[in-house]
Amino acid sequence: MDWILIFSRAVEAGIGSEAVIYCLAAIGLNVQFGYTGLLNFGQAAFVAVGAYSIATTVATFGLPLFLGVGIGLVLAVLLALLLGIPTLRLRADYLAIVTIAAAEIVRLVVRAVALKDTFGGTDGLQEFAGTFYGLNPYPEGNYVIPPFIGFDHRTMWILTVGWILVIAVSLLLFLVMRSPWGRVLKAIREDEDAVRSLGKNVFSYKMQSLVIGGVIGSLAGFIFALSRSSAQADLYSTDFTFFAYTVLILGGAARILGPIVGAAIFWFLMIFVKTGLEEAINKNVINFLNVNQVGAIQYMIIGLGLILLLIYRPQGIFGDKREIALDAR
């Protein structure tokens, strides 16, 4: 077995574009779920809004990319307001139901045959990332990062932008979550009636949290679309949201580093297991499986790993065990 190959693929995935995308989506969820206790099961909708905003603006209407970025941010805010106004006054589960439905509505709208001219139907939209890669400062070629990983110049550029975004957003959240504003959010997560009785406008804070988390989700959408130079509706299904939750809980909710480390480890493990199995089958180390079965086995193994994690480390990697102990009281 070629262990160098397995490890290099896994490390590349751990810092690659998937990791960046899921990391940003999970940071958004961290604001909403981790800090405020809002169950947003429709993060995929915000990611789709980001991706399709730039894709439609450039590919369909021929307008500049940065206008698309602006439109994406504005639409993410509007989507959050639309979801929040009817549900945030109600119990937490209503938001969960409405967001999961909204995410499916967004996906079905952008893949609709009737809107094929605008959104491209199931084929999606391509050829909108030219401006972005035109700005690429890395000269063409392959970049080897010692000891054994490497990316081409396009991936280098998207990863540079992506991780800068991750760091910038994390720094902002680090500052604001230590402030009295962050304290109100955490208090709402614990008991919103108590917070109301102390004179805080709970609805407004929940809305701010939903909007901020949604806007961060749309950043993930920009990176998603640009990294693939394509926006395809079926990538933004509910699976996406659940993987983002997995990343968040793996790393530890309500921790700034949680989603970052969670995304890196999640994608490292996904590709490690996949490449490892493929190698083992190709080299006849495992002969009772074939390569076509790897996809399913991969999810089984990852799923088992997550179950074990939740049993033995329910707080995630960065969580505080004392906090989980409080829930049992």
């Binding site: 304290r183 955490k186 009636d193 109301r196 102390l198 004179g199 805080k200 906090e323």
Partner: protein, 321 residues
């Protein structure tokens, strides 16, 4: 009382205000901080609250008592904006408060605690306290990003919080999670946190529920202190010893309505209150005629029983022969 002993004078002042008031429901007080008119709350066919008129005297400790299901907590929820009344209006310091959302009620200086204590478990005790302070600049998202804008204010808030925690003997716990406190300590924390809002009227929903007797005395002391500091206290309580000990005036609710008011030492002997707690006819006949009738019925029953006994003995005797 001596002017140099404010504790005594406040209590005396509060008691003097109630001197000679009628014990009718809705009696007018000399200086009411809260005036409630015709508040109604229905849950389907059940009228949970139907209060005609009630006034709460400023600077006093008023108890709200009543049997289970009398609507005390629902009434509390109406007044503090946690539930919407179907009808009625109330004013706090002369300002209309019906339809005002809960957080604005608190900002006006009318702060409540809860029957089931709401400690914010995963926040530390000191963070719980800091949350209570009003008009914090750092509670704006953009200001929150720049620590320089709120650091100074935060230090002042922390100082005030630590003073209160010292008074409530929770200072040793200040960096512990609130979720790790005992039930009684949570009640203390909730009361201290409410004081961080700097309220004029403190509304305590069963402050003694689930508190061990050792802590009861200290909680009582804290409630009395609120009056000494010039605050008005309205509290719901079941423990009659506590009501007698600390309240200046008692309002009794039953089946959603206020049925009596009065000073604590005499209210429990009020016929309406006894009726509400024990039922009006729990042991007495309704009228003299009825009493006579009950007596005759009982005698007739006894006589019939005696006859039947006699017959059965005879029959038993016949059989034996």
């Amino acid at each position: 009382m001596h002017a140099d002993n404010p504790a005594q004078s406040r209590k005396a002042a509060a008691l003097a205000a109630f001197e000679g008031l009628a014990t009718e429901p809705g009696v007018a007080k000399p200086d009411p901080i809260l005036v409630v008119d015709k508040v109604v709350r229905r849950f389907g066919g059940l009228t949970a609250v139907d209060v005609g008129h009630v006034e709460i005297q400023r600077g006093s400790i008023t108890a709200l008592i009543g049997p289970n299901g009398a609507g005390k907590t629902t009434f509390f929820n109406q007044l503090t904006g946690f539930d919407t009344a179907d009808a009625g209006e109330w004013t706090f310091n002369g300002q209309k408060m019906n339809g005002v959302p809960a957080y604005k009620v608190a900002r006006h200086g009318m702060v409540r605690t809860f029957q089931l204590t709401k400690a914010l478990s995963k926040l530390t005790v000191i963070e719980n306290m800091r949350l209570g302070a009003q008009k914090q600049r750092g509670e704006n998202f953009f200001a929150g990003l720049i620590p320089g804008l709120w650091r100074g204010e935060e230090a002042a808030i922390t100082q005030r919080a630590e003073d209160l925690l010292t008074r409530f003997k929770l200072i040793a716990k200040k960096d512990d999670f609130a979720g790790s406190l005992s039930g009684g300590q949570r009640k203390l924390l909730e009361m201290a946190r409410a004081l961080m809002v700097q309220p004029e009227l403190v509304m305590l929903d069963e402050p003694m529920a689930g508190v061990n007797p050792a802590l009861t005395q200290s909680l009582l002391g804290h409630v009395k202190n609120l009056r000494e500091e010039g605050m008005t206290v309205l509290f719901v309580e079941h423990d009659m010893d506590m009501v007698r000990d600390i309240s200046d005036w008692v309002i009794v609710m039953a089946q959603g309505a206020v049925i009596a008011e009065g000073p604590p030492h005499s209210i429990m002997s009020d016929a309406r209150v006894i009726d509400a707690y024990l039922g009006a006819h729990h042991d007495a006949p309704l009228s003299a005629e009825e009493e006579q009738q009950q007596l005759e019925e009982a005698e007739a029953e006894l006589a019939a029983e005696a006859d039947a006994d006699g017959d059965s003995t005879k029959e038993a005797g016949n059989e034996r022969v």
